[in-house]
Structure formats: C-alpha cells, structure tokens
C-alpha cells in the first residue's frame, strides 16, 4: 500500500496552489507541498520529502536517517567481529592458525 518515494524540491511553481517541482532521480514532477509547508514556500527549495501520488507528505529527517544507518552499520561491525571470533575458534579447534585464505 501507499507507494512513497524520496524526492527533492527544486522550485516553487505555483504559490497560490502550493505547487512545487520535485526531482526523483532525474525525473521531475509537479507536487503539492501543503503538507510540508510551515513557513514561506521558498524555504522548501532543496528540502527532501516523501512523495505519494503527487503530494509531498513528509519532510525526510536527515538526522534520523543517519541514526538508522549508524545502527545498521554498527550491527554490521559487530557481526564482522563475531564472525572473526568464530573463524578463530574454528581454526583453533582444527589445530591450524587463522590466516589469510587467499
């Protein structure tokens, strides 16, 4: 349900109708920005937003995105460490020292 896609506001095209031009990977489309407008519409230029059926529905929070990615990265690092430990243990039980495979 509810296909939504991140896009960036390029320009305000129709102040009265609250329309702006948005860019999604080089595809441009006029979108309604009522839901994300707080101050002057011009301030929205450059803003990243989640677009659904031609409406900018939510501003994308860069800090929250980074926090989610950081958590994922840390999980990746922890996993790598874990795998290294396990590889070391396996190598020891087999009686060979861990070394580069290739």
């Amino acid at each position: 349900m509810c296909l939504g896609i991140p896009g960036q506001i390029l320009a305000i095209t129709d102040e009265a109708r609250q329309l702006a031009l948005a860019d999604v990977s080089g595809v441009r489309r006029e979108v309604n920005v009522t839901c994300i407008a707080e101050g002057p519409l011009e301030d929205l230029v450059g803003c990243w937003t989640l677009i659904h059926v031609g409406f900018a529905m939510s501003r994308i929070d860069a800090e929250e995105a980074e926090a989610t990615l950081r958590a994922l990265r840390e999980m990746g690092e922890a996993q790598a460490a874990l795998e290294e430990m396990e590889a070391g243990r396996a190598a020891l039980t087999e009686g060979t020292a861990p070394g580069p495979t290739r």
Binding site: V24, V27, V53
Partner: protein, 340 residues
Amino acid sequence: MALRDTHVTLAHGGGGKAMRDLVEEVFARVFEPPGMEDQARLMDAALAEPGARLAFTTDSFVVTPLEFPGGDIGKLAVCGTLNDLAVGGARPLWLSAAFIIEEGCEIALLARVAGTMAREAAAAGARIVTGDTKVVGRGAADGLFVTTAGIGVIPPGRDLGAARIRPGDVAIVSGRLGDHGAAILAARGDLALSTDLISDCRSLAGLMEAVIRAAPGTSAARDATRGGLAAALNEMAEAAGVGVEIEENALPMAEEVRGLCEILGLDPLYLANEGTLVAFVPEDQAEAALAAMRGTEAGRGAVIIGRAVSAHPGRVTMTTLFGGSRIVDMLVGEQLPRIC
C-alpha cells in the same frame, strides 16, 4: 511540388492524383531507388550462395506520441524490422512499408517519418522497395500506423536460434534497459513526468554482425522489445529448455529509469527496449562477444548479466541486489502504474 496541402485529407486516399502526389513526394522520393513500387523484383548475389537462407519478418507499429525523444514511429518500424532480422543472424536487404494514415495527419510529419525510415534503412544497407498508403477517417486510427516487413539473407553456416542455447552460455545485454519504455511513458505527458531520457530506438544490424564475427559460436540473440528483458529471457529459456540466472546488480539502467519505476511502481525488467538485445554466447567466446559489442555505437554499454543453467528449465531467476533470489516471470497483462 504538386502537393499543396499541409494535412492529409480523405482525398489523399482516393486513388486519384492527390494520392499519387502524396506517395511520390512524401514517400517514393526518399525511398529511392525506386521505392514504393507495387511489386518489387528482387535480386541479390547473396541469395545465390549455396546454403544461404532467406529470413522474412513483419511487424506493425503504433506509438503515442508519434515523435518522441530519440526517434519517431518510422525509426521504430524500420529499426524494429532490421533488428528482427539481425538477431536471427540475417543481413537485411529489403523492406516494405505500409502506412495507415488518420485524416488530419500533418504532411510535414509524414515527411519527417519517411525521411528517418529511409536513413535508417540505408545505414543498415537495406532498401525500402515496396509500400502502400491508406487514409482513414478521423478517429479510425491514432494519427499514423506503420507496418513494415523485411527480407534478409542468412549466410551459409550461420545458425542462431533460442533452441541452441546450452547450459553454461553467458547472457550479455548490449546496453541500458528500459530507456525506451520510460522515455515513452514520460513523453506521453498524461502522467506529467518529465525526464531527459532518450529512447534507445536504433538498428542493431551492425552490432549483430560484429558479435557473430567475434563469437561465431553465438547461440542466440533477441531484442528485448515488448515485455522487456523479462519476456525475452523467458521466451529463450523456454525454447531452449534451459534455466536462466541473472544478477540484479549487473543490470545496466539509467538512474532516471529507476526513478520513474519507483514513482510509478513499475518493474524495469518489463519496460520495452527498441535497441537493446540479449545474446547467449558460449563462455569461451563471451569476452570476445562483449568486446565486439562495445566496439559498436549501439553496444557501448554491453555487460554480462547472467548465464544459462541446467537447473529449473524454462524458468528465469534473479539474484536480487540483496542476495535473495526470485523468479522473473512473464508479465500477465500490461504493466499499469500503481500507487500501492
């Protein structure tokens, strides 16, 4: 110049002088020599070679808009027919062109379309030797429909066909996927999306010749037109009784195509291409085929995307970006934009 009108009327289909003027000044003049005869008498030395075989193909073309970034309906028709011949290993020789014209169609547009057709055919060493025009009333056609047929010759010793694909053969695509389908969707305007995308519509005749020279063992090739790469691969897998495995990571695609697909909920594997083919080549000739493709204008973006396997015959699977695996089936109906 006898033709004074700017738009086609039913008079241009009446069999009289108006029709003769239209045919001669718009079509026959550019399809030289001597285009648009009712009956073409064909002769070519290549046909006389022992073991040579004729290849014959036909296709009808409809597209909205008639002119789009990267081509028009005429280029689509001629390249489509040239490509059907080329992927079978045939050298294109002669084409026919039939036009169903809606009353009101702009004559300047017809002239542009005829011009592209003549140029594309000539570039591939083929000639448009026969043709026909019909004019229908407003609403009975959508501007212009074009039907082309093509005759080519397959030199002795060449045998390309999907049934020849063997497990282990490497799958190569000649360029980016989905450019045509995405460019047309945007150019239609009803979705109010704009892009800088250009259709990949082009002849693959030169590219195929280069591939066959470099990799004579090439099993089969197919241009990934309607139904996209997914349809081409499924048809080939089925005909050969092999499985096909492709890597999502390897699929060449423009950012705009990905963007358009994300916006509209479409799968780029099903988007039409009009100048991109997929070839199956024995593994030991794959590098040579790849290099040959990259040496042509149409194949600069060629890459290996997967291979034929003996597992799951008739079925195409894809290793996703994510290391998961999924089946890539034929499309059921038309792909419709979706919101959910």
